[in-house]
């Protein structure tokens, strides 16, 4: 399981967000360059149609591959009341020919993306990962060198944290309280619930840029 929230920020404020995250997390950012292939089952395969993602980490000297399955979100009145999405998620590192395997099993490429940006990984009540990335589409199949932004000038911010059925309440609390620190720059909400950019972003960014993130917001 994982807890997740998403938001968007204008690219011009990303540097300020980075300063803020650096100050909050106390760790260095890691560069992010991930080729993501979303595969879907062909019509007759499986009792229900299914979707799986192959992620190729292009930041490594030798690209590494991961299979990720994102399952359904937790439902019910309790889940609706919290501002963080809790969903099942399973991952496995795989050797480089995993794409060939899934094609052979009856999966087809639905779409592919290239995420370029950075991430912070740190411990704050839970193990939290913040990724800030521009999402790019490929004009030609697998042509990551010729990718173009899906939404120019806008970047995606995602905060995730691994959780289990025993501890997700604490993880949700940790993620929610962390999100509050970022509130002047961007609003984070459950994936699929778009809240747009926040009006205070420009002022907050200017303040961060002038004092290097030393002042608490």
């Amino acid at each position: 399981m994982e807890c997740v929230v998403q938001g968007i920020i204008e690219t011009k404020h990303v540097e300020a967000l980075e300063i803020l995250l650096q100050g909050l997390c106390g760790v260095h950012r890691e560069s992010l360059r991930v080729h993501e292939l979303c595969l879907k089952s062909v019509p007759n395969l499986g009792l229900v149609s299914s979707e799986v993602r192959l992620l190729c980490d292009l930041e490594q000297p030798e690209p590494t591959w991961t299979v990720r399955h994102i399952g359904g979100a937790m439902r019910g009145a309790g889940a609706e009341q919290i501002s963080v999405l809790v969903r099942t998620m399973a991952e496995s590192k795989v050797s480089k020919n995993a794409l060939r395997l899934f094609y052979a099993l009856g999966y087809k490429l639905d779409h592919e993306l290239l995420r370029v940006g950075f991430s912070f990984l740190f411990q704050r009540g839970a193990q939290i990962t913040v990724t800030v990335s521009s999402v790019n589409k490929m004009l030609k199949l697998h042509a990551t060198d010729e990718a173009v932004p899906v939404t120019p000038g806008i970047q995606l911010v995602e905060v995730t944290s691994p959780a289990s059925s025993e501890n997700y309440n604490e993880v949700v609390a940790a993620v929610s309280s962390f999100c509050e620190y970022l509130a002047p720059l961007l609003h984070l909400s459950k994936p699929g619930v778009s809240t747009g950019v926040v009006p205070t972003a420009a002022a907050a960014a200017a303040s961060l840029m002038s004092d290097g993130g030393g002042t608490a917001l």
Partner: protein, 222 residues
């Protein structure tokens, strides 16, 4: 990692495997001064596609297997023999396969038995039984040579050791013999340096042989 050959017992026509043969083979390993070193186990699961409607374009692979090796419990190997694909994954891939609900495990076979050391060689002799059952489906042997990890370079010494082993076994006049099928690892895109993916392919291959043999034996009865 050290190279290994994985061999299976081919019963003579008209005969089947039985536990007496397995015990004779184990004794043979001890008689050539093999030192018993504990147990070993491999598990192979057959995956079957799940389809919404039978008979419509169901050309999904029928030879898709998943393999876990006791020496690497955190790993899981997926093999489609017909298409020469082997993928190394973490054991969590099993959970992903389950969640996708597109393939389910049909039958699982356990390969388990004793391990013997003979100088630089390791021998693992064991039975092939369906999970949750004791019905003997086959006999398997792993022959590992510790100092070498090149498939090509180890060929001669492995061949010579196998000849010695066959000779030792011949004295027991058993109704069958061990067979070594040499997979073409290059077709799977694997290098000459031996690794766990090579082991997974060998298991997928001998399992196909064991299944084919047991079908051939059962066929006249039907």
């Amino acid at each position: 990692m050290p190279i290994k050959w994985i061999l299976h017992w081919q019963p003579n026509p008209g005969t089947t495997v039985n536990s007496q043969i397995l015990s004779e083979v184990s004794q043979c390993a001890e008689s050539i001064n093999g030192v018993k070193e504990g147990r070993w186990k491999t598990t192979l699961s057959f995956y079957k596609s799940m389809v919404r409607e039978q008979g419509i374009g169901n050309d999904f692979p029928r030879d898709f297997v998943g393999i876990s090796l006791a020496e690497q419990p955190g790993k899981y190997f997926l093999v489609i023999r017909g298409q020469r694909i082997v993928v190394e994954a973490e054991s969590s891939i099993q959970m992903i396969m389950e969640k996708l609900q597109s393939y389910k495990t049909r039958v699982a076979l356990n390969f388990e038995g004793n391990q013997y050391q003979l100088g630089d060689f390791q021998l693992r002799v064991g039975k092939v039984v369906p999970m949750h059952s004791e019905t003997l489906r086959g006999i398997v042997m792993e022959m590992e040579y510790v100092p070498i990890s090149s498939w090509e370079k180890s060929h001669q010494i492995m061949g010579e050791f196998f000849d010695l082993w066959k000779e030792a076994l011949l004295k027991r006049s058993l109704p069958g013999h061990f067979v070594h099928i040499e997979p073409n690892f290059a077709e799977y895109g694997l290098p000459d340096q031996y690794g766990m993916q090579h082991t997974a392919i060998q298991y997928a291959n001998i399992t196909a042989q064991i299944v084919a043999t047991s079908h051939a034996v059962q066929a006249p009865r039907n």
